[in-house]
Chain length 350, copies 2
């Protein structure tokens, strides 16, 4: 299954209600098809999941799109209903996302470590043959496997609760009929375009808070030196914790990542191509993955009783992943200005 | 004293011998003026040096220029004389360069560490408040102070030998008369331009061996991953040592640094402006300094009985300095193509 919109373009004359209903019933159907593949018959047969990683991906994809549509086009829905459903979708998104998140960290960190410590004849790395490299690799693998197992156990426990069943029931209802407000349902479809344009506007506003002028200077060292400090972190403590500072530095980028996804899904509802936003989304996913991996390396370096050689290698890996963070920001800073900034509305209606 | 040529442009009609004599007698005079300032009355009063860091800089500058001219315009000199003098100048260059080299490493590494561990409200670094930072700082400071003291002692010992006196005597002779070959002395000055063009050609050939296509891609990670391997290192051992691999990766860049300096001094002899080469020289000095600093951090991380926190911080600093290496290569890769590649001879005769 690809990332392309899963709804056919609505007829130009379609009302807002028809477009939203078409999109949401399709996504709810995708949710219901993916659910048993992703979590097995979790309620009835504990321990049988995940049946399929592809099923989990499809499930996450539907969850994100339904949540995005409920957010962007909230004026069309009964607020209580939409708010409750978004809360439940956010709960499932968090729950389902943890294990894949640890899997991504693991593959990224081990690949970085293998590349850095490669002794190959053609392209060795700066840790080639270093005694600490296999130790650091074993430590990271052990800690991330443990974290994944814990996330898996937590997922199993949560999926045995009635909460998932209740959400699946809501999705069954949604796949049949979308509870639209009467006033919104009959309106002209162009109201959706204006709401999608507002999502793009929110993205533009979020991006304006990023230090793009710094990010587009290659090797500005922003990922290592000169972190940004959020006002909240500024007042928190006289000597700030480095991990908290790095998290504060990344936070506005993570927020823009969410705004990019929302804008993508909003354009999808309006059947507008999203290729530019797909690329931005990929870059910010990479930014998030590198940021997570860097934090994992930093945490691993604080494990008691590790050898200095292990700690040294983890320091190199930490800096390497912060460099990847910087590279993703550089890429974002060069892609963003190429987007049609000054014509959000025109873009959404193109 | 600036880096500008210290000879007035020779008259257009000047012979090769007149131009070379003018340049070398001037530089030998600069050597003799700087020597007592740089080393004090080393022979007579041991322990009284260095009298002046500026004097040492002036001395190094004259030594490099005389050595460069003897190399580029070697056809004009009696080979035995020029070869011996170049050997003695290389000995003094190495001897005088060690202590400033350690001083540069020290200031670069401590500045990097202070920036990385800065807890300031505006621009903290990724090691802000890290417990290993002050320990790593103390370790680097101790090791580099020890290395500087040793270099200083070695310099003192060597300057008490007759070797420096003999070199000073040679310089006194050179400041009076340059021993040119009769055949070369009377030739038209344009022969020097052709020899300077050959020095520029050697620089172009050296630069062709650099991986510039990779270097100009920002965040290619070449300084950390994907090191180049020299044929010599390739066959050396099945599992190569990371420090040796990094040194092999840097070696062609260090060689080009020498070729840039030689080309600069050759153009100086011909009274041709060298602003472009001065900028390349600065970039490659930065490359060399970052490479040296990275190696120092890596060596310090192997000190027995350091804490894991100290080792971790040194790993970050090592990666940070390799990133500086990469940044210098990026800068070189962007400056080099702007030079008049295809008209070396035209440039030298401009």
């Amino acid at each position: 299954m690809t990332d392309s919109p899963m709804t056919a373009p609505a007829a130009p004359s379609a009302s807002a209600g028809e477009v939203l209903s078409g999109y949401l019933t399709t996504q709810a159907g995708a949710f219901l098809r993916a659910l048993p593949q992703a979590v097995g018959e979790a309620g009835s047969r504990p321990g049988s999941l995940p049946a399929s990683a592809a099923g989990a991906d499809d499930l996450l994809r539907a969850v994100r799109r339904i949540g995005g549509a409920l957010h962007t086009f909230e004026a069309a829905f009964e607020p209580g209903w939409a708010g409750e459903l978004r809360t439940e979708l956010a709960w499932l998104l968090d729950l389902l996302g943890r294990e894949p998140g640890y899997r991504r960290r693991s593959s990224r960190l081990l690949a970085a470590l293998d590349s850095l410590s490669d002794t190959g004849a053609d392209t060795p790395g700066m840790l080639a043959g270093h005694a600490g490299a296999p130790k650091a690799r074993a430590l990271l693998e052990r800690q991330l496997t443990l974290a994944r197992t814990r996330a898996h156990t937590a997922l199993l426990q949560e999926l045995r609760t009635a909460r998932l069943h209740a959400l699946a029931d809501r999705m069954t209802l949604l796949s049949g009929e979308v509870p639209l407000l009467d006033a919104a349902a009959g309106r002209d479809g162009s109201v959706l375009t204006r709401q999608a344009a507002a999502a793009l506007g929110a993205l533009a506003a979020g991006t304006e808070r990023l230090p793009l002028a710094r990010a587009v200077q290659p090797y500005g060292g922003d990922g290592l030196h000169r972190l940004a400090v959020l006002p909240a972190a500024r007042g928190a403590s006289p000597v700030a914790d480095a991990d908290a500072l790095l998290a504060a530095d990344d936070e506005p980028w993570h927020r823009v990542r969410v705004l990019v996804k929302r804008a993508r899904y909003a354009l999808e509802v309006c059947a507008v191509p999203t290729a530019e936003l797909d690329r931005l989304d990929e870059v910010l996913d990479r930014h998030r993955d590198a940021s997570d991996a860097a934090a994992t390396a930093s945490t691993a370096a604080r494990t008691p009783r590790i050898t200095p050689a292990t700690a040294y290698v983890l320091g190199v890996v930490h800096a390497d992943q912060r460099l990847e963070v910087e590279a993703a920001r550089y890429a974002f800073g060069h892609q963003w200005p190429k987007l049609p900034h000054h014509g959000w509305h025109e873009w959404a209606t193109a």
